[in-house]
Symmetry: C2
């Protein structure tokens, strides 16, 4: 059993002093779930995950649970450079009841061996030592610079068949995504970009964890629920339409752009704040970004 | 005032369960200081810094102080992806009395702006809020993939002239190193490779933080103390000789290779252990590496 559907790598709103704005995050999570998301991939790249300490991330998970949000809907990012950090956050997520975790490989050293990555995942799995753990490997070489080769998936699946449940493939490359889908039927393969969603679903993939699910969860869900009842031409046209948001974001740094979109949709400039090293959009960028966008308003 | 001399990005010995072997580390630090190192750049890239949690790194610093090692000799790495982590570890190092800290920029997001990096360093400096803080910027683009451009150094020096004390340049590129030395006379510019040590010192640089200081601290120190009394030909020949260790390591992963060298010098296989994602050398690599080495034994 793997997760299925539309998952939002949830944006993390911030207070002026850069702490997590848990109140706005609760509101955002509820809105995402009410508007189509099957679950919340908290602490993905879009969430500025690695800009938060382990304690901050644990506090956020606790805060969402305290607010009554169902922890089985969580698939939080828990992969870090240091094994003890990954173990601590993963254990916390599992204890809370998360359906899975999204796990980056250790990403400081570059050019590390497949043996080394296998050993890193093995250490985390064994140290967490919980049969409820379900790991979604996080393949995002454009940012992490450390990827998950097919052979590593194969080894991990062989060693931990009940634990290694799937992968988020953010390679941005169809050939890579296709190779994963072909090599591992039944594996929980999620595309990191909605642009491959139709092909992902047609070939037995389980859905997407995509940045734009923060702003168009309803459209993504409608597509996910509807594509099988469309003919090929209509499904293709619907997929094309789904790509408009990402196209309109092209050339803008994605996290600041998505936060600007939230600020606009909610008429709430507080949403713009990002943690360094990210920076907010300049005024001119804000105007041009939003001029190209077709988004609704919230509230 | 900046640090001067030969600094070891201290290897971190590990117990079989991958915890830090503080007893072996204390012995190693004492040996480094007794054999030529001016100080200890604990938690550099060679130290597997990013493979340890903040708490583990604090415990190590405390353990060394408890063992009677002078904390003014520490220049520990404290830069991390998350500002609160960098603040916590930097504050801890300053409180202990470290002469400086070596600070990576946040390294998860790639292609970030100079404004974003300036903001990241500013946040750490302001949040630490301690006039004793001395930062050595850590420029290691081959690994971090996020570098420190000249303009960033200039802005940081202007904004925090008493705090931003120097840089460790591990670009591996002489043109880059020369540009830093030329642009910022009086800045504490350290080369990340001993291969540029003579030129660094000739042009007003302050020394080196180099991986091979873990195994040849005495040779590096002799060169540092002696180059000014040599004629150009002799100094050049001494520099060439100094490069032999690195040349013999070429083609081997540096941290496992250095740990193998320590294991050999101390006749102590426990020294080989590394944390994933790094892996120990294979038997054949061990043999060929050590066959090309000219190192003494310890103890």
């Amino acid at each position: 059993m793997t997760v299925h559907g539309i998952f939002s790598p949830t944006l993390t709103p911030l207070l002026p002093d850069l702490r997590v704005d848990i109140d706005r995050l609760i509101v955002h999570c509820r809105w995402l779930l009410a508007n189509g998301c099957h679950g919340l991939a908290l602490f993905g790249t879009t969430s500025e995950a690695n800009s938060f300490s382990v304690a901050e991330r644990m506090d956020v998970l606790d805060g969402l649970v305290d607010a009554g949000i169902d922890p089985t809907l969580f698939v939080p990012g828990t992969g870090m450079c240091a094994i003890p950090d990954a173990v601590a956050l993963t254990s916390h997520a599992v204890r809370l009841g998360a359906s899975g975790v999204l796990m980056l490989p250790p990403f400081y050293y570059k050019g590390v061996s497949e043996d080394g990555l296998f050993a890193a995942y093995s250490e985390v799995i064994q140290r967490v030592g919980d049969s409820r753990l379900r790991i979604y490997l996080y393949h995002i070489p454009p940012i992490s610079q450390v990827g998950i080769p097919l052979q590593l998936i194969e080894r991990l699946l062989k060693a931990y068949p009940d634990t290694v449940a799937g992968i988020k493939d953010s390679s941005g490359d169809w050939a890579t995504h296709e190779a994963i889908l072909d090599a591992f039927p039944g594996f929980g393969t999620l595309t990191g970009s909605e642009k491959f969603l139709l092909e992902n679903l047609k070939r037995g993939g389980v859905g997407t964890i995509t940045a734009v699910a923060n702003v168009i969860p309803d459209r993504l869900r409608a597509f996910y629920d509807g594509w099988q009842s469309m003919d090929d031409a209509d499904a293709g046209a619907a997929q094309d339409k789904l790509n408009d948001t990402r196209k309109a974001m092209q050339g803008y740094p994605p996290v600041p752009a998505l936060k600007e979109m939230m600020a606009s949709m909610r008429n709430d400039p507080a949403w713009r704040t990002v943690r360094p090293p990210l920076t907010v959009l300049a005024e001119g960028q804000r105007v041009s970004l939003m001029a190209g966008m077709d988004l609704g308003t919230i509230g």
